[in-house]
Amino acid sequence: MLERGDTAGDLPARVPRSRPGNVRVRHRRVPVSVRAVATFAALADAVETLVRDGTVLAVEGDPLAAARVLLRRRLRELTLVSLDPGAAGDALVGAGCVTRLVVARTPGARTQEALVAGSVSLTEHTALGLTAGYAAGAAGLPCGLVGQGYVGTDLTFRTVRCPFTGRDLTAVPALTPDLAIVHAPRADRAGNVQLDGVPREVLYAAARSLVTVDEIVERVSGEVVPAHVVTTVAPAPAVPAGDREALAGGPARFGEWLAGVRA
């Protein structure tokens, strides 16, 4: 089991912190972060620690390497929350690991088949609605608000009236996943994470988070989420070259691929 502050043996060690009174800080990493408590772990260990049958799991940034580990562990009855489940989410649905989807998109062939077959339940949001749900969860509010995205559509939604303007707004329940698994390009040695195309709110909304990264670098820049928000950073093992092609293929190809992953 991983504890906060643990370091996996062959992974980059934590950078020593400057001590109180040591005023000569040579480089500040992330202005908002004053403590770094993310743990580094190997992906398989992190998944074993963080995911159980029935976990409400947000996936963003298409974490396919993490999905391979989840598939090997044959997890069941996951709820998948995502703006776009990607190939990772689609593989989990196709393997029967998922019973409920809370999503804004359903691009995967296996997800579409499961929805037609009725083997997974679905709560659909617009992209802004789902993001507002994450933001509300992150802020500890019971619901998030969006202006007009659901109005006039066949989506199911509820409204509240603005007490200041009288305008009707769509209310989206807060999303507070048990765990967020996010793929990001890089993290620094303290566990500050640089995101690419993923809303940072998902990491704040989830009770715990696992961020898989392509590389660990000295400094991160751009859209950075501070280490104290991140439970575990795991370097993402390279995904075999044929994976995405296999996942874009038909049922037979997928079955073959899944058997290979689980072998």
């Binding site: 703006l83 804004a104 998109r105 009725g118 659909e124 006039g152 195309g197 809303p199």
Partner: protein, 195 residues
């Protein structure tokens, strides 16, 4: 004129365009080559909610469009027990609710229907006054660009009418691929208008 070029031609200098992935984003990028100061925001931008109120136009794809420009990217058949599931709306409804949108899709009978199976994103709903009644700004899609031509909404009825034919395409050809009694604009443009 290709479908992408026909859509790109509708974007104006200085506009901020929100485009959905695939052909719309490709058309927006194509337009950037010739339209000065055109800003393109992808619908997957995590800050889309802040970009939308500042944007001028949306460029989107749908799987089905109806006579009132309502868009379906969700399913075919019964809502609870669908026959087909599509990729889902994503930000489509968020965009179409607040921006004038240009819709980009292949002109096929299965996609051009009298009434969409599922309203993923609102067009004019059922008539010219409907959007205002439910509190939506604007009047629905401003253009539907296909591989056969361009449909524009008739301001009086909010129904999409044929306004432009791509080179070599006939009115009969478009009508054969349209699932409602398609009207033809009095000012029908043949073979693509000048840029």
């Amino acid at each position: 004129m290709s479908m992408l070029a026909a859509a790109a031609r509708l974007l104006r200098p200085g506009q901020v365009c929100v485009a959905t992935a695939g052909a719309p984003l490709a058309a927006a990028r194509l337009a950037q080559a010739s339209v000065p100061d055109l800003t393109v925001v992808a619908d997957t931008d995590p800050d889309l909610r802040y970009a939308l109120p500042r944007a001028d136009v949306g460029l989107v794809h749908a799987d089905q469009v109806d006579v009132f420009g309502n868009l379906n990217a969700t399913l075919l058949g019964d809502h609870a027990e669908p026959d087909v599931r599509f990729a889902g709306g994503g930000a489509l409804a968020d965009i179409a609710a607040v921006l004038p949108v240009i819709v980009l899709l292949e002109h096929r009978l299965a996609a051009f229907v009298e009434r969409v199976d599922f309203v993923t994103a609102p067009g004019a709903l059922s008539g010219p006054l409907d959007r205002a009644l439910v509190g939506l700004p604007g009047s629905g899609p401003v253009a539907v660009v296909t591989d056969l031509g361009v449909l524009l909404p008739d301001p009086a009825t909010a129904e999409l009418v044929l306004a432009e034919l791509h080179p070599g395409v006939t009115v009969e050809q478009v009508r054969a691929e349209t699932g409602w009694a398609l009207e033809v604009s009095d000012e029908l443009v043949l073979g693509g208008s000048p840029a």
